[in-house]
Symmetry: C3
Subunit: 389 residues, 3 copies
């Protein structure tokens, strides 16, 4: 087991750290990182009737006009009334409910003030901030601006495998208490899954080790978690034996890590997924996107900052099937994934995210997954800021 | 239309203003202007049982004794228990529920301490602040003191026409969220009525223009809003036509302003109202009183500051009828004015007042009504403070 | 009545005081005095399932293991999750629900991390604060540490008569709003009882004077309230007569103070109680314990600080009966004491405690009971701090 001992001697970033001073940008991003695209809501929920949303602390109203979705700052500059209380009086515009200030949806310019007549001289002199909008994965995405920075194409930010490949998906969007960083760290956290979730129904279908040895590997803008070795039960000196084996999963799956991590006994891998050559089962990228690659489908979690105290959980299950095969996916997703995985399993996480209270914190070996993610965020965002100078 | 162009060139106070620094007193009066009389509640609600109220941030308890209403600071100086939790043990007094500290209703002096015996030597040494009280319009009014200033007679503050003329009235008092200044500005605001309220049932009985040209005129302690010209529909370049005409009000009333503003086609005017020679339909005065003069009755709104976040809406409809004619008024008021005007119509305002969030703000032409009101308040209160020096 | 006049000339500490600057330690103890034992909950409520509590602002989890109760700081040092959300995985330990960090109940040391395997090198390097625990009066008591100070034996803090004598008891623990000091001051307050509680059902069985003359006497770590003279009704100059006599208690009990204060007509005294030679009916001691000595039983109130805004009311009725006589006590307690005294009567106090708002305050003659208690607390705590230097 020398190489295991080797591994154990590798520096473990962050162990014993008490605060987040090592990651100043991350520490400051309580309300999220600006300068990224975020999914706000389902496309089908964006209609001709404006609705209010909040992302990274920004109040935003979404409205659909001529088939296209628009996002405006949800505040009329006149007296501060939310534009989401208003409605459309003219195509391509949104009028404030209070005095009929009418703004263009594309540029946010004040086009008319109904209660000030056609010769109103304030028109063209006032503007409401607008947000770049795209639609992907059946959701409306908004770009939250960072001082001066022009928005990058959303496809540069989406998981690569979702950009050009056809797929089917199912998912849910839930508002949740707790800071988005705790949600993201929980999602990527190597340590809790097998302990916290051992009581979930999901584990009926999934063998869980007691503990394992992990390697973190950077690949492009993603950080991967690689299971090196799994231990199905352990004998804790002076305390006793603790095992995560269950009678209905007698034979622990081969510990040999497949090319997508600890997915247990090697299974036929979906070609699209295989093509990605994911070094590991779980990976994370900015601005808070988790990817869990199963052999036949990929589960994504987007942690969308609402403010510094709450976030939106966006869980998506993707399958690269086409034609008839899609039916099998929908049956599987609606039949149990939605309830067991995106539901109860994920609900256990939600409880932890709400209860987490750090810093101060005291990290341990498996938290290398957290600290590497923080380092990634710190580095990528730092570079972004540099570029703006 | 030269004189219209004229008008359009008149300076428009406040257009484009972003904050309230121009009106420092007004800006500081978040919890109301002290040194004025305010209606607190209906006279019939003030009984021998003390009740707690709050005006301009002051906690006040009202109690009736020997037919007269009294107002005391709602805090026992002993241990801070609200006196409104207590009751009467002796005529002309109010006793604290906790230890029986007994205060005189007229001067607030500690007259006896039941639990300290007749020889209690603290009596006469402690005093609770009392407030001047008057009853008008079926309501109990309290004078909120301003350092050192002796209270002025309430009749100097009431709308002149209500002081000596007999009248009948109906009204409602509603606690409402939002700052009193937003409520007052909304009430006098020239701009929103025809847009926000176009969906109210009230407009079934009232024609509303799309926009109009307004002149503001000062008369005594009131500022009047005069409709110079009304436009029933408008064609907004690049957007289209917007009209406020309705099929059941085909013939827009003559735009010619009657002697009480845009009340539509000249109607027989109640002599009392005519006698006032109101330059305009709507007028406002300190400390936040709105007057809307209809041909046959007058609607008043008193915006009573509770604290900096909430206020009390006091809406009163007055008719100068006597004898049998009063029945017609009551029938009209209880039949629909109370529900359509003081109810749903006013409820639309309440929603705006709660949602208003200013400064910052960006004013436009019709907001001359707001800025003139602010200037009035600023000037009158400044003079008041001067006089105190 | 010379000696009465005498008495009236005795200095009355605190009369007229406006703030608490005279008692700096007391003023600073908004969340309670540290360095004392506090009852947290009933012993029967402490089981193998950890529960969350708060004392003096400290979050604490209580759990029972092998018959013994343990108290740990309710926060996992890893990520701040409350340990009370976890459960037991090994005897003598408590594991965090999130990652299975497992702490020893006796010393709080990190014994194992289930998700980091047997060789986890963080074990033994992390510790959760533990609290000394004792069980008395059927309750679990926790010692809230004061920097560096070793805990004193709980029996040195308990009312002497409860340490070695057998007794039976009944009681209730209620969470209550309001600062613990207001609760304690209310409990010992000489003034309010006969006025505030005159409307309680309890007074059906207890004569209450209108006012009385009081002497405060220090004995050991207790301060006693001694009724010198009672006045059953009083004539207040200019106001009238006020009496607390009731027809069903026509004969006011002899004012002669028994050896346990104004318990009315001398009754047979329980030998244990008599043995204490209580100078007075009511007494108080640190850290907020009230003792009301009736001839046949003693009522105690422990005011347990939760935080600076709320406390726990612990009311206990003790009887020194043995054998069959205990049945009579239980019948009496469950029959009416629990409902009339610990219930409605005490509920009136709760309302006052919640409403009290001081300082500022304006004290009067009977408040010598308050100021003496504050002086006691100030002195005892000062001595405690001195000893730590």
């Amino acid at each position: 087991m020398t190489n295991t001992d080797e591994r154990r001697r590798t520096p473990r970033a962050g162990t014993g750290r008490q605060d987040w001073s090592t990651w100043p940008h991350y520490d400051a991003a309580a309300s999220g990182f600006r300068g990224y695209w975020y999914p706000v809501t389902w496309s089908s929920h964006v209609t001709g009737t404006p609705r209010a949303h909040q992302i990274c602390g920004d109040k935003i109203t979404l409205i659909r006009d001529g088939g296209r979705a628009y996002a405006l700052h949800d505040r009329c500059p006149h007296r501060g009334i939310p534009l989401s209380m208003g409605n459309q009086q003219f195509p391509g515009t949104l009028s404030c409910v209070y005095h009929g200030w009418t703004f263009g949806l594309d540029d946010g310019e004040l086009k008319a003030v109904i209660t000030d007549g056609p010769d109103s001289r304030i028109c063209g002199k006032v503007r409401v901030r607008t947000y770049p909008v795209e639609e992907r994965l059946g959701m409306v995405w908004v770009y939250v601006p960072l001082a001066g920075e022009p928005p990058h194409p959303i496809d540069e930010q989406l998981p690569e495998e979702l950009v050009s490949t056809p797929f089917v998906m199912g998912g849910r969007i839930d508002p949740r208490p707790g800071n988005w960083r705790f949600a993201c760290e929980n999602g990527y956290d190597e340590g809790h899954a097998k302990y916290l979730h051992r009581t979930s129904l999901w584990r009926l279908f999934k063998a869980m080790p007691t503990w394992n040895l992990t390697r973190i590997e950077r690949k492009g803008r993603w950080v991967f978690r690689v299971q090196e070795e799994q231990f199905w039960s352990a004998d804790f000196p002076g305390l006793g034996t603790w095992s995560n084996q269950r009678w209905w999963k007698l034979r622990p799956p081969k510990a040999k890590a497949s090319n997508i991590g600890n997915t247990g006994a090697a299974k036929k891998i979906d070609p699209v997924i295989a093509a990605q050559e994911f070094p590991g089962f779980a990976s994370v990228s900015m601005p808070g996107v988790l990817r869990i690659a199963y052999p036949k489908f990929i589960h994504y979690e987007f942690y969308v900052p609402v403010d510094d105290k709450s976030h939106r959980y966006v869980g998506v299950m993707v399958n690269f099937a086409e034609g008839l095969a899609t039916l099998r996916f929908y049956a599987k997703y609606l039949g149990f994934v939605r309830w067991l995985f995106h539901g109860q399993f994920s609900g256990q996480d939600a409880a932890m995210v709400e209860a987490t209270d750090a810093p101060p914190e005291r990290l341990y070996r498996p938290d290398v997954s957290l600290t590497t993610w923080r380092a990634l965020a710190e580095e990528e965002y730092g570079t972004k800021l540099e570029a703006l100078k």
